[in-house]
Each structure stands twice: as structure tokens, then as C-alpha cells.
């Protein structure tokens, strides 16, 4: 009985607050990450040599640095050169850039899978390179990249929990506060874990629906 009251009165409101912060972190990071990923993926395949190198460098850096380290740099490091971000903004920037690097890899793979002949056909009809990418290549590549990108979004939901390390108190952060006040680590983190499981399951379901909606006969080989 005591347990239930504890959950209802202390845990639930705090975790609810944390959950809202988590969602406010995840949604924009997922959107920006995807936009960056598509843009960088296109540059890596179709850019001029200079831009391609630059994009490769971006991916190497943001995929190579541990995400916690990136968060620390955005939040603790940049103030030394006079750039200040709130914990929330620093987190969204770090998540978007990291996520974008991974997305770009999936997008790049998908772009490379589009048959060259279709690009020749588009050019022969008078398409400029940019219009060809926009109207012929990307609509196909995005469909092919969707499973990989969905995977990355599910990762993002989980690694958004790192935001509490730079004092952006989201779901995990709230859980940690309650747990250390009450020493009920097991109970609290089981609940926190379950909430993430619900989030990732919902995302997986949504992504699956999306894949089904944009499916084209015979396109998946």
C-alpha cells in the first residue's frame, strides 16, 4: 500500500514532468537530425570534392566523439569562448548533430543504391542536378533509408537520457533525483525504463506504419 502511495504521490508527478522534457528533447532533435542527415548524405554523394570532404569530416567527428563528451563541450566548453547555451538548447544541438551524422550514413547508402540509369533518364529530360536529386533520387532514397533512420530515432529516444548529465532534467534525471532521495533505486528505475520502452515501442509502431504507407509495389526489389 505504502509503495503505491509513494508511486502515486512522489514518483508519477516527477516522472511526468521529466517525460515532457524528454519529449521536448526528442522531437526537435529527431527532426533536425533527419534534416541534417538528408542534407549531409546528399552532399557526401553528390557534392563537389570540397563539400564532400567537409561532410565526411563532420561525420567522422560527430560519430567518433562520445556523445557525453559532445554534450560537455557544448555546455561546459563553449562558455570559455563566450558562447552560452541553456542545458536544453545544448542538448538539442548535441543530439541533432550526432543523430544527423548517423542518419547521413543511412541516407548515403540509400542514395548509392539508386540506379544510375534513372539519373541519366532524368538528365536526358532536362532536369538540373538539384531538381533530379529532389524529385527523382531522394523520394526513392528516403524510402530505402527509412528502416535505418527509424533505428537511429529509437536510439535517440534512449540517448536523450544523457541530457541530465548537463543538468537538463528529463525523465532519467527526475528518476535519479527521486531515487537518491528515497533510496528506492530499483523501483524508480524500473518505472523509468518501462516509460522508455513505451516510447520506443510507440516510435517503432509509428515508423512501421509510415513504411507501410509509403510502400510502392515492387520497389523493395
Amino acid at each position: 500500500m505504502e509503495e503505491l502511495f509513494f508511486i502515486q504521490n512522489d514518483v508519477a508527478p516527477a516522472l511526468w514532468k521529466g517525460l515532457l522534457v524528454s519529449i521536448r528533447l526528442i522531437v526537435p532533435s529527431a527532426v533536425f537530425g533527419l534534416v541534417i542527415g538528408v542534407f549531409v548524405g546528399v552532399l557526401r554523394v553528390f557534392g563537389n570534392p570540397f563539400l564532400t570532404r567537409l561532410a565526411d569530416l563532420y561525420v567522422a567527428l560527430f560519430r567518433g566523439f562520445p556523445l557525453v563528451v559532445q554534450l560537455f563541450i557544448w555546455y561546459f566548453g563553449l562558455p570559455h569562448i563566450g558562447i552560452y547555451f541553456t542545458p536544453y538548447v545544448a542538448s538539442v544541438i548535441a543530439f541533432s548533430l550526432c543523430s544527423g551524422a548517423y542518419h547521413s550514413e543511412y541516407v548515403r547508402g540509400a542514395l548509392l543504391s539508386i540506379k544510375r540509369g534513372q539519373m541519366l533518364a532524368a538528365k536526358s529530360l532536362g532536369f538540373s542536378k538539384i531538381r533530379m536529386i529532389r524529385h527523382v533520387v531522394l523520394p526513392q532514397a528516403v524510402r530505402r533509408a527509412l528502416p535505418g533512420c527509424g533505428n537511429e530515432i529509437i536510439y535517440l529516444i534512449k540517448y536523450s537520457s544523457l541530457a541530465y548529465m548537463i543538468t537538463c532534467i528529463e525523465l532519467t534525471g527526475q528518476g535519479k533525483i527521486i531515487a537518491s532521495e528515497t533510496f528506492k533505486y530499483t523501483e524508480v528505475f524500473m518505472i523509468v525504463g518501462a516509460v522508455y520502452l513505451v516510447l520506443t515501442s510507440a516510435a517503432a509502431w509509428g515508423l512501421h506504419r509510415l513504411e507501410a504507407r509509403v510502400r510502392i509495389p515492387g520497389f523493395q526489389h
Binding site: K115, G117, Q118, L120, A121, A122, K123, S124, L125, G126, F127, S128, R131, R134, H135, V136, P139, Q140, R143, I216, P217, G218, F219
Partner: protein, 254 residues
């Protein structure tokens, strides 16, 4: 009657891949309404020549004129405008896999010519009707047969109102039974006065319809002449051998 005007002229087109010259000083011209057919062994430069004409492959040297105006293909805008006037048909159809038949035909009308969607749809439908695909407009490429796919690609090219069409072995990837449906569309185009350059191994078709046959080998246009001349009294020994072989395989002209 005065000669029809020259629509397309190419001079000294040359293309190298590394040390290998795959196209050597190829020159030709084609008049309004003519059908010229490129014949020759695979790897002889037929595809390269066709792709150099609309600069899908950048030639190392050579010039091209359309309607008497030189194509300044280093200028992007000019190149894109030029390509709209030169329709191209590929051996592998190269339809856009994510679009229906009608989507394939209208996409360039919308995004290249800037037509509004409704107008583009109307135009695309009528082009598909012209190639006999009215019932298949909403099908995706994967749901069409090879012959149907090739006819969609012809409709797609025609929708841009090209003044000349380049056909790169349009029937080579087709089952024998489907070849005739594509050839009959090309025959109709010819009857309606479309100017075309086509590479093919369909010797019968070439004999029946070509105004002129260009025999190509090792990147060189070896010999040019009417089908009659090339079939029976080619000047070049190599041309004679090739025609003997190909007639043996594909049959005499019908």
C-alpha cells in the same frame, strides 16, 4: 522538291576513357523526319555516340548543332534546354521506380517545363494513350512488362515535344514477343515525321525503315549508306562480314 533542313549535326565527336578512345571523330547530320540507324558490334561506340549527342557523356572534343545553332553545352541552362528538345530512349527503360506510368510521364512536365499539375496530367495521359497504355496509367514500373515499360519511356520522352529522338537499342532487353509492340510504336513515330537516330540489332526493321544506316566499329563510323547499299554492296570488307553475320542471326529484312 527542296531538301529538308538539317535538324542535328555533330562534328568530330571524340571520347576517351583513359587511354582507350571509344569514339573517334564521329560526324554525321540528320534532316527533318529522317531515321538513321546505327549498326555495329557491341562495344563499338554506338551508345557512347548517342550519349555524347546529348552530353550525358561529355565528349573530349567535338561540336553539336541543333537547328543550325551550336549547342554550348558548358553552359548549364543551355544544356538543360537542349536536352529537353532531344528525347532519349534507353535499352533498360530507366523508368523512375517510385512513380506510376503517368507519374513518369508528367514529372518532367511539372518540374522541368513548369506546367501546372492538371495540365501535365492531361498531356501525360494523352501521350500514354498514344502508345497504347491507357489502361495501365496507374501502374508502377514493377507491374508492367518490358514492352510496356519501354512504351512508357517513349511517352515520357514524347511529352517534352522533342525535335529529335535518340534510341539506344530500345528492344535489346525485351523478350522476342514484346519487341514488335515497341517497334510498331517507333514505326508510328516515323510515319508521323519524328526525326530519330536509333541503334539496334533489328536488321529487318533497319532495312525496312532506315533512310540511312551507319555502320560503327571500334568507335569509328566505318561506312554510311542506304540499307540497300549496305546490305548488298558495302564498300568495306568488314561491313560486308558483319551484315552477313547479322542477317544470318536475325533474318533477312521482312
Amino acid at each position: 522538291m527542296s531538301e529538308k533542313k538539317v535538324i542535328l549535326r555533330a562534328e568530330n565527336l571524340t571520347k576517351r576513357y583513359g587511354d582507350k578512345e571509344v569514339l573517334k571523330n564521329a560526324s554525321f547530320s540528320i534532316r527533318e523526319g529522317e531515321l538513321k540507324i546505327l549498326i555495329g558490334p557491341s562495344g563499338g561506340g554506338k551508345s557512347t555516340l548517342l550519349q555524347c549527342i546529348n552530353f550525358l557523356v561529355r565528349p573530349e572534343a567535338g561540336r553539336v548543332w541543333l537547328d543550325g545553332r551550336e549547342v554550348l553545352y558548358h553552359r548549364k541552362r543551355e544544356l538543360y534546354a537542349y536536352r529537353q528538345k532531344v528525347g532519349m530512349i534507353f535499352q533498360d527503360f530507366n523508368l523512375f521506380d517510385h512513380l506510376t506510368a503517368v507519374g513518369n510521364v508528367e514529372i518532367a512536365l511539372i518540374h522541368v517545363r513548369g506546367m501546372d499539375r492538371e495540365e501535365a496530367r492531361t498531356r501525360a495521359s494523352s501521350e500514354l494513350e498514344r502508345v497504347g497504355l491507357r489502361e495501365h496509367m496507374e501502374k508502377y514500373p514493377a507491374q508492367l512488362s518490358g514492352g510496356q515499360k519501354q512504351r512508357v519511356s517513349i511517352a515520357r520522352a514524347l511529352a517534352m515535344d522533342p525535335v529529335v529522338m535518340l534510341l539506344d537499342e530500345p528492344t535489346s532487353a525485351l523478350d522476342p514477343e514484346l519487341i514488335s509492340e515497341v517497334l510498331s510504336v517507333i514505326r508510328d513515330l516515323r510515319a508521323n515525321g519524328m526525326t530519330m537516330i536509333m541503334s539496334t540489332h533489328q536488321i529487318g526493321f533497319a532495312g525496312e525503315l532506315a533512310d540511312e544506316i551507319l555502320f560503327m566499329e571500334d568507335g569509328v563510323i566505318v561506312e554510311t549508306g542506304s540499307p540497300k547499299k549496305l546490305f548488298s554492296q558495302a564498300e568495306c570488307q568488314r561491313t560486308r562480314e558483319f551484315f552477313l553475320k547479322i542477317v544470318e542471326i536475325y533474318g533477312e529484312s521482312r
